[in-house]
């Protein structure tokens, strides 16, 4: 639940701080939308392996006959379901809040659906590297936020182009490519990082 509240809260703060003129909102809307989504994801990310690491479950995952990368993939999927999917559900609200045309709601939904798998998988690598550090939250943000830049750029530009009735296929395909790439490669990297952490 927390990421959703955080997502809406950040988005609600911007108009208060900047200006509530509709043209202004329309201009910053796509950017705020994706920055808020990325920050909300990082916030929830830290929990991904924390309890498994603390209670020893991670060790049992690591020495199970099953490949650790498959367990990681299952965890990523579960994490995405509880943190990213709710964002997708509330996102239309945000699009309308920023006076963006109703026609861009669908595109905003699509960018989140296409981009959040990459966010989750990339963030998980950062978590795997920092989970043994007490209060590794800040370190995690420093580590993964720069890696979110491509997703942020393509996500925000897709919504922006939709608001101006321009074709959105390009950025959307880029987002999907990033997600496919990270879902298929990250589990191995995350598993390797976890093994190093557990040594």
């Amino acid at each position: 639940m927390n990421p959703v509240v955080f997502f809406l809260l950040i988005a609600a703060l911007f108009p208060l701080a900047v200006s509530i003129a509709p043209e202004n909102l329309r201009a910053i809307g796509p950017g705020v939308f994706w920055v808020a989504a990325v920050l909300a994801s990082v916030l929830s990310m830290e929990q991904l392996f924390r309890s498994d690491f603390d209670d020893g479950t991670l060790e049992q995952f690591a020495i199970a006959p099953q490949a650790l990368s498959v367990v990681v993939l299952a965890k990523l999927f579960a994490h995405w379901l509880v943190t990213a999917l709710p964002l997708i559900f509330v996102s239309p609200l945000l699009v309308l809040l920023y006076q963006l045309p109703v026609s861009s709601v669908a595109v905003a939904l699509l960018t989140l659906a296409a981009g959040t798998p990459a966010i989750t998988a990339t963030g998980a690598l950062g978590v795997a590297l920092t989970v043994s550090v007490r209060r590794g939250g800040v370190l995690l943000s420093l580590l993964v936020l720069p890696l979110y830049v491509p997703v942020l750029i393509f996500g925000a530009s897709a919504i922006d182009q939709a608001a101006h009735n321009l074709p959105v296929q390009g950025p959307l395909l880029f987002l999907m490519a990033l997600s496919v790439l990270s879902i298929s490669l990250m589990p191995w990297a995350i598993a390797a990082a976890l093994r190093i952490t557990l040594e």
């Binding site: 603390d54 020893g56 060790e59 690591a62 099953q66």
Partner: protein
């Protein structure tokens, strides 16, 4: 008879510190190996190395004459490791915990039967958050009943257990050894395992 586990010239380290050098020993079916030594002498590190959690600094571990680095997945399916922390999820019930583990490691016994064997079937449906430390350890120990792993690697398995459970665990160990399994254990308790051959490995003396 081939040995189950054979260790050659094993050197283990924790961080920058070398804890034990040139360890050589072997564990045969039906054998128990008890590692002894003062705190910080490397008992846990040795067990974690044997459980494939930490890589050794040098030396080789053989499982039935194959290097374990070549047959990691096979070895992991033959080995059961219980560490200091019980690896029990507090937000799940004991039964759910065991079901997860059964799927992960491959079970030969029903999870509920394993709980019964450890005498905690009464708490099967209570969240582990509400159980005591000793009861949590028993949930963790129920894994021993759950799988058919021939090699048990147990780090301080008797911690936080009451008299009765200690006896129960000893019986479990005796049965396991009598069936041709083997066990590597660290403990500060005096261990009596009936007829089984118990060898000892002292760390931190040299």
């Amino acid at each position: 008879m081939t040995s189950m586990l054979r260790i050659e010239k094993l050197t283990i380290s924790r961080g920058e510190r070398t804890l034990a050098t040139d360890l050589n020993f072997q564990v045969n079916p039906g054998d128990a190996l008890v590692t002894e030594g003062p705190n910080g002498s490397g008992k846990t590190t040795l067990l974690r190395t044997l459980a494939t959690l930490s890589p050794p600094l040098s030396g080789t571990i053989y499982w039935q004459d194959h290097e374990i680095s070549d047959i990691t997945e096979v070895y992991r399916s033959k080995m059961l490791f219980l560490g200091h922390i019980p690896a029990v999820k507090l937000d799940l019930t004991p039964l759910e915990n065991l079901k997860v583990y059964a799927r992960l490691a491959g079970a030969v016994t029903e999870p509920s039967a394993a709980l019964e064997r450890m005498g905690i079937q009464r708490y099967a449906a209570i969240l582990c958050r509400h159980l005591s430390a000793g009861q949590l350890r028993r949930v963790a120990l129920a894994r021993l009943v759950l799988t058919a792993a021939p090699l048990w690697i147990l780090d301080e398995p008797f911690t936080a257990l009451d008299r009765q459970t200690i006896d129960g665990l000893s019986t479990l160990l005796e049965e396991h050894l009598a069936e041709g399994g083997s066990a590597i254990i660290t403990t500060h308790q005096r261990l009596s395992l009936g007829q089984a051959s118990v060898s000892r490995l002292s760390l931190g003396t040299g």
